[in-house]
């Protein structure tokens, strides 16, 4: 096992062993990221593949200012955004269903929901909502940044996030009903 600095150096020299280790180190976490942004497993596979190719080719531009994982994650997220933009014209967003309830869920109940359930909930979101929710809530992008990235207005970003939350809240409540 190489240290992070050594791993980068060896990857820059195109050493297969180092490249494999690099991939194994980050791929599971990045696949999780891809899975959140993607509509399904196939899309997640495509984003991960494209993203890691970019990572390896642009590794020399990593200056070591921040954490390597953060840099890789940002590259993967950018790839997912580009993937979304490329396929935007093929997307056909469904009208989001109105939230059945606006009541907050109990924290104890939320703890019982598995991550797979949450993934499924996110996958059920329209692609636009999913992008905004992922970027804002999980990745920490501001609405200004999201607006620039997705070429939408800040208000659109905010409203889409609001609707995404409503939808997820409703689905969580439904899930809660089923659980109990």
């Amino acid at each position: 096992m190489y240290s992070e600095a050594e791993l980068i150096g060896r990857c820059l020299k195109n050493e297969p062993k180092a490249q494999a280790q690099f991939y194994k180190l980050f791929a599971p976490k990045m696949y999780g990221v891809c899975f959140r942004f993607a509509k399904n497993k196939m899309e997640a596979d495509d984003i991960l593949q494209e993203g890691f190719i970019k990572v390896f080719f642009n590794l020399k531009s990593y200056r070591g200012d921040g954490a390597l994982e953060g840099w890789v994650r940002r590259t993967i997220v950018n790839t997912a955004i580009n993937y979304y933009k490329r396929n935007l014209k093929y997307q056909n967003d469904l009208e989001i269903e109105k939230a059945d309830t606006m009541h907050s869920a109990d924290n104890g109940i939320l703890d019982t929901i598995s991550v797979n359930d949450l993934i499924n909930l996110i996958h059920e979101l329209p692609v636009g909502y999913r992008m905004v929710f992922n970027l804002n809530v999980i990745e920490g992008y501001t609405h200004k940044e999201i607006a620039e990235i997705l070429n939408i207005s800040e208000n659109t970003s905010k409203s889409q996030l609001s609707r995404a939350r409503q939808s997820l809240q409703a689905k969580v409540n439904k899930l809660n009903t089923i659980v109990y």
Binding site: A20, Y31, D45, L48, Q49, I53, L118, K144, L168, Q169
Partner: protein, 469 residues
């Protein structure tokens, strides 16, 4: 409600904080096949097929030229047989006893060898002896063939070539019957000799003409021993031991990228080569250095500087006579615009490659001019890469990130080179060559174009000097 949203946010944020999934195996397979190092990249297969096609092309061309050469030889042989038939007829007429026709023929023969015989009357009265003299004189002329190919005479008549050719085939003998036998024997062996003498013909002609120019008094000098057999010595390139040439060349090249026209760039290379020539074929290798550059931009992400403020990070209280006095500890905090901006600054990346070609080809020489075709694989290894630092004056602004938009180049790239050129002899050992060259790359020189069916290619003109040994 807000609390509910907050819970939803926290729920997803916490659950996905360390969320991991095992990616399927095929993703890594695809990734490693698309990056340099791990993947096979199919370059071996591309190279293999490209190599087979290229080598086949060269062999076909070489075979074609060999066939053309053979056709030319056959024509010459036909002429030679006709010529020998004429010689036989002439000799048979010479052997006829003192007839008017025979005398006239002999006179004609003597006329062919004018400036050599002293008296035509002597020939008319001594037919047989004259015939001997003709043979002797002609043999003495052909005696000069030791220096070069028998074509040595001042005779400027159209019959000169015939005369010289005849003289070259007549051995030194005093006997008529032997003479005839030898002529016939020579006729039998003509094909072989002519075939073998063909490649060197132009060279011999040049030298013989130079020699003739030196014979200012018109006489034919023969410093050879007349009694020495003057069997013709034919010089031939065919089957002879190969020779070696050294070359020094300069090649400007333009590389085209069908997948992205913006990447079209120019390069220059200097190379030294060793060429081994054998029977028209040539094998070339060497080492070259190629200098290439890419023009592009740095993309700079920065945040605009808005100003500063004094931030109170601590407050302490001093008890003084007048009471408790707060002491504010501050630090200056710079404020930047939260919106990042992007600017492009031009840059130029420079690359140096080491090139090693192995070329196989075919060529022919015609007097001072020669032509050749050749082709083969060439490997280019990136030995130096110069990326200038970003030229951006940020002032008080904060640079978040800068990225060279130019795609990185791969370290090793194979290409197939095909060229056809001409050479011109400046001297006995030095030639200048002009050689249009086409280079077909097995894959893109850039890393980002890893998945493409459009291969880059380059066109160049290789000029240089060849030194023969």
């Amino acid at each position: 409600m807000n609390q509910g949203y907050k819970n939803i946010d926290d729920l997803f944020r916490n659950e996905f904080k360390d969320f991991e999934l095992d990616p399927p195996e095929h993703v890594w397979e695809n990734v490693k096949n698309s990056i340099p190092g791990s993947g096979t990249n199919n370059s071996f297969y591309r190279f293999r097929y490209g190599g087979i096609i290229g080598l086949s092309s060269i062999l076909i061309l070489a075979g074609l030229f060999s066939f053309m050469d053979f056709s030319k030889t056959t024509d010459v042989n036909t002429n030679a047989v006709t010529l020998n038939s004429a010689i036989e007829v002439t000799n048979s007429q010479v052997q006829e006893p003192e007839t008017g026709a025979s005398d006239r023929e002999n006179v004609a023969i003597v006329d062919f060898t004018n400036d050599v015989l002293e008296s035509s009357e002597e020939v008319q009265t001594q037919t047989v002896e004259t015939n001997k003299n003709i043979l002797e004189i002609e043999n003495s002329i052909s005696g000069n063939s030791d220096t070069e190919n028998n074509l040595i005479t001042k005779n400027t008549s159209p019959a000169n070539d015939l005369n010289a050719t005849v003289s070259s085939f007549i051995p030194d003998t005093d006997s008529e019957s032997e003479n005839e036998d030898n002529l016939l024997a020579m006729a039998d062996g003509t094909e072989h000799m002519l075939v073998t003498s063909l490649p060197g013909t132009h060279e011999s002609n040049v030298k013989s003409s130079e020699f003739n120019e030196n014979q200012s008094d018109g006489s034919v000098e023969n410093d050879m021993n007349p009694s020495e057999p003057s069997a013709p010595e034919f010089k031939s390139d065919y089957g002879k031991k190969g020779n070696i040439m050294l070359g020094l060349s300069f090649t400007p090249e333009i590389t085209f990228f069908p997948s992205d026209n913006k990447l079209t760039n120019q390069s220059y290379s200097v190379d030294g080569s060793v060429i081994y020539k054998f029977s028209g074929y040539l094998l070339q290798s060497g080492v070259g250095v190629q200098f290439a550059s890419d023009d592009g931009n740095y993309k700079v992400d920065y945040q605009k500087f808005l100003g500063t403020y004094e931030d109170v990070y601590n407050v302490t209280f001093d008890t003084t006579a007048s009471g408790v006095v707060p002491v504010y500890h501050t630090q200056t905090v710079e404020v930047y615009d939260s919106i990042s901006r992007v600017t492009l600054t031009p840059t130029k990346n420079k690359y140096t490659y080491l090139q090693i070609p192995i070329l196989f080809g075919y060529g022919e020489d015609y007097k001072r001019i020669s032509w050749f075709v050749k082709g083969g694989p060439s490997v280019a290894i990136l030995i130096n890469e110069g990326q200038p630092s970003v030229n951006f004056d940020s002032g008080n602004n904060r640079v978040l990130n800068y990225e060279n938009e130019l795609p990185a180049r791969i370290n090793t790239n194979w290409s197939f080179v095909f060229s056809a050129g001409v050479g011109y002899k400046l001297g006995n050992h030095i030639s200048i060559t002009l050689e249009p060259t086409m280079r077909f790359y097995m894959k893109s020189a850039y890393e980002r174009n890893v998945v493409t069916t459009k291969h880059p290619y380059s066109l160049g003109i290789r000029t240089g000097l060849l030194f023969g040994f």
